[in-house]
C-alpha cells in the first residue's frame, strides 16, 4: 500500500518536469503559472492572496515543517505524505493525490479530520492542483543543487582570491566555482558591489553571502555582511557632533564646492568613488567623512571571513545539507565574528549583518583618507 502510494506520487511527479516547476512556484510563492491570483481562505477571515501565505512560509522551503507562534506546520515532504502519521492529536492515513487535493482545497486530512485552523484553504484550479501535487510528489526527494556525495559546490564572485578550506564537511569537500555556474549549493560575492548577486540569489533561490551591497535590498536568500546604505549614512551622522550641520552625498559629489565649510560633508563609499577629489575645496579639509563597509585593505581578510562564515554554517548542518536549513542557520547567527569586518547578526526580518560602518576622514591636502574615527554605529531610532 505504502509503496503503491509512493509510486503513485512519484509517477505524478514524473509526468512532467514542467508541472513540477510550476508546482514549485505555487509552493514557494503562492503564484500560478497562468498569472491568475490564487486565493487562500483563512478560516473566518476574508480570502487573501495566496502569495501572502504560500505553503513554504509555514511548511518551510524544504517542506519539512516549521514551528512558529504555537503553530506547528507538519512535514509535507513526499515521503512524509506517503506514510501514515500523527500530527498533534490527529492520526491520519497516507495521502493519495486525491486526498491531498482535498486537504489543500477543503481542509481535511487523509482520514477526513479537519486540519488546524491555521491552514488556509486554497482555491486552486484543476491545473494548479495538478501542478502543486506533482511538486509535492517530489518534494524532499530531489537532490539539492550543488551537493554531491563527496563535494559541495560554492559559487564565488569578485576579484579577491579566496581559497577553499581543506577540511571536509561530513565527508564532502568544499569546491569553489567561479563564473556564475548554476549548479551551486550556495554562493559568496566578495566584489565591491554585490547588487547582481543579490538579485540572482532572490531570483534563483541560491543562499548567497554578499560582502558589499550598494542599494539592493536582500530579502530571503541574500545575506549582506555589511551595513545598508541607510545605516551607513546614519553611522556617518553619528560620527559628527549632533549640533553641527552636515551635508550628505550618496551618489557622486556634485555641488560640494558650495557646501557650508563650517559643517561636515558625509559620503557613502559609492559617492566617494564617483567624486573627483580635485573638486573638494581645501576649506573642507578633515571635514569630509567617508563610510565604508570595513577598513580598506581588509578586502582579502573580509572575503576569507565571509567564506569561513558560510563554511561554518554548512558544518553546523552536518550531512543534511539543504538550502532551507542553511537559511535558518544563517538567520540564527548572533554577533558572529568575521575576520576583517564587524560581527554579523542576521534575523528573518533583517539580512544586513550590521549597523556599523567604518568611517574615515579625508585629508584634502594629502588626498588621502585617515583611519579615523573608525567604526561608527547607526543610532537606533
Amino acid at each position: 500500500m505504502l509503496r503503491a502510494v509512493l509510486l503513485a506520487l512519484a509517477a505524478l511527479g514524473a509526468v512532467s518536469g514542467d508541472a513540477v516547476q510550476r508546482g514549485r512556484e505555487i509552493f514557494t510563492h503562492g503564484r500560478a503559472a497562468s498569472g491568475a491570483t490564487i486565493t487562500a481562505l483563512v478560516e473566518g477571515a476574508a480570502s487573501i492572496d495566496a502569495a501572502l501565505v504560500p505553503c513554504a512560509n509555514c511548511h518551510g522551503v524544504d517542506g519539512r515543517g516549521t514551528s512558529e507562534g504555537g503553530i506547528r506546520a507538519p512535514d509535507i515532504t513526499a515521503a512524509a505524505l506517503a506514510d501514515a502519521a500523527t500530527v498533534g492529536a490527529r492520526k491520519r492515513t497516507a495521502y493519495t493525490p486525491a486526498k491531498l487535493k482535498r486537504a489543500i482545497t477543503l481542509g481535511f486530512d487523509a482520514s477526513g479530520n479537519a486540519l488546524d485552523r491555521a491552514m488556509p484553504r486554497f482555491a486552486l484550479t484543476a491545473r494548479d492542483a495538478e501542478d502543486l501535487i506533482a511538486y509535492l510528489g517530489v518534494l524532499g526527494k530531489e537532490a539539492e543543487p550543488g551537493v554531491a556525495e563527496h563535494e559541495i559546490r560554492i559559487g564565488v564572485t569578485g576579484d579577491v582570491d579566496v581559497v577553499a578550506p581543506q577540511t571536509r564537511i561530513y565527508g564532502r569537500a568544499i569546491r569553489l566555482v567561479r563564473g556564475g555556474e548554476s549548479d551551486v549549493f550556495a554562493a559568496i560575492d566578495v566584489s565591491p558591489d554585490g547588487t547582481a548577486s543579490i538579485e540572482r540569489a532572490e531570483r534563483e533561490h541560491v543562499p548567497t553571502l554578499v560582502l558589499n551591497a550598494a542599494q539592493a535590498e536582500p530579502e530571503k536568500y541574500a545575506f549582506v555582511l555589511t551595513a545598508s546604505a541607510a545605516d551607513a549614512v546614519a553611522a556617518l551622522r553619528a560620527a559628527v557632533p549632533a549640533s553641527t550641520s552636515a551635508t550628505t552625498f550618496t551618489n557622486g559629489c556634485a555641488g560640494i564646492e558650495r557646501v557650508d565649510p563650517a559643517g561636515f560633508v558625509l559620503m557613502t563609499a559609492g559617492a566617494a568613488k564617483r567624486c573627483d577629489i580635485a573638486a573638494i575645496p581645501p576649506s573642507l579639509d578633515r571635514r569630509v567623512l567617508v563610510a565604508a563597509g570595513y577598513p580598506p585593505g581588509n578586502d582579502g581578510a573580509a572575503a576569507a571571513g565571509a567564506l569561513a562564515l558560510l563554511v561554518g554554517a554548512l558544518a553546523d548542518l552536518g550531512r543534511d545539507a539543504t538550502r532551507a536549513r542553511l537559511l535558518t542557520a544563517l538567520e540564527a547567527l548572533r554577533d558572529a565574528p568575521v575576520a576583517g569586518i564587524a560581527p554579523v547578526t542576521w534575523s528573518p526580518g533583517r539580512h544586513f549583518g550590521t549597523r556599523r560602518a567604518w568611517v574615515m576622514t579625508l585629508d584634502v591636502g594629502a588626498q588621502r583618507l585617515l583611519a579615523a574615527p573608525g567604526w561608527s554605529a547607526a543610532l537606533t531610532p
Binding site: V42, E43, G44, A45, A46, I48, D49, L52, V53, N57, C58, T66, E68, G69, G70, I71, R72, A73, G88, A89, D116, R117, A118, P120, S347, P348, G349, R350, T380, P381
Partner: protein, 189 residues
C-alpha cells in the same frame, strides 16, 4: 498573569481547543497600558495610551513584518474583524511590532496594505526599550519574536474592567462580536 502565560505554552499542540472562546480574563487589579512614545505607520509619533487607547475599545495584536507563518494570519484576521465591526465609533485596532529594530513605519504600512487595512487600524514601532515596556505592560514580551504566541489583547478603556486576552487566531467574527458588544455599551451610555 503568569498563570495565563503558562496556559499559552500548554496550548502549543492544541490551539484548536481554544480557538473560539476567550482564553481567560485577567482577574484582580487592572494593569496600566504603558504610555510610551511609538511611531505609527504614517511616521507620526504618538503616545501609546493617550493617543491610541484612552477612551476607546481597542484590540491589540503583536506582529512583525519578517514573520512568515503566524503574522499573515493575524493580519488577515484583523482586516476581517475590522470589516465586521464596521463604523463603530471609538473601536480601534492596533498592531504592535515586536521587532522594532527592523520594522520601520514604511515596512509596517506596506505590510498592512497587503491586508487592506482601513483607517482605524494603527501599526506602531518605536525604540526597543519603549516597545519592550509596552509589551510587558500588555502581558507579553518581545524577547524572541520568532517564537511569539499569537495573542490579541482587548482593552476597554471606556468602561474599564478586566482586559480580555484572546488567541490571535480567534475567529474574527468572535473578535468582532466582543468589540461590538463593548461598542454597543458605549453607544448606550
Amino acid at each position: 498573569m503568569r498563570r495565563i502565560t503558562g496556559m499559552y505554552k500548554y496550548t502549543f499542540f492544541s490551539l484548536a481547543l481554544f480557538c473560539c472562546a476567550p482564553l481567560s480574563a485577567v482577574a484582580g487589579d487592572i494593569p496600566q497600558v504603558a504610555d510610551v512614545e511609538v511611531v505609527a505607520q504614517t511616521g507620526k509619533t504618538l503616545h501609546f495610551y493617550r493617543d491610541l487607547v484612552k477612551g476607546r475599545v481597542v484590540a491589540i495584536n503583536f506582529v512583525y513584518t519578517g514573520c512568515s507563518s503566524v503574522c499573515p494570519l493575524l493580519g488577515a484576521n484583523f482586516a476581517r474583524a475590522q470589516t465586521l465591526v464596521g463604523d463603530a465609533p471609538n473601536v480601534a485596532f492596533v498592531s504592535v511590532s515586536i521587532d522594532p529594530a527592523n520594522d520601520t513605519p514604511q515596512r509596517l504600512e506596506a505590510w498592512a496594505a497587503k491586508f487592506g487595512a482601513k483607517p482605524g487600524w494603527t501599526l506602531v514601532t518605536g525604540a526597543k526599550a519603549d516597545i519592550d515596556a509596552l509589551a510587558k505592560s500588555l502581558g507579553t514580551t518581545t524577547a524572541d519574536p520568532t517564537s511569539h504566541t499569537p495573542l490579541v489583547v482587548i482593552v476597554d478603556d471606556v468602561h474599564g474592567g478586566a482586559w480580555q486576552r484572546l488567541n490571535g487566531l480567534t475567529d474574527p467574527a468572535a473578535l468582532a462580536k466582543v468589540l461590538r458588544a463593548d461598542a454597543a455599551r458605549l453607544a448606550a451610555r
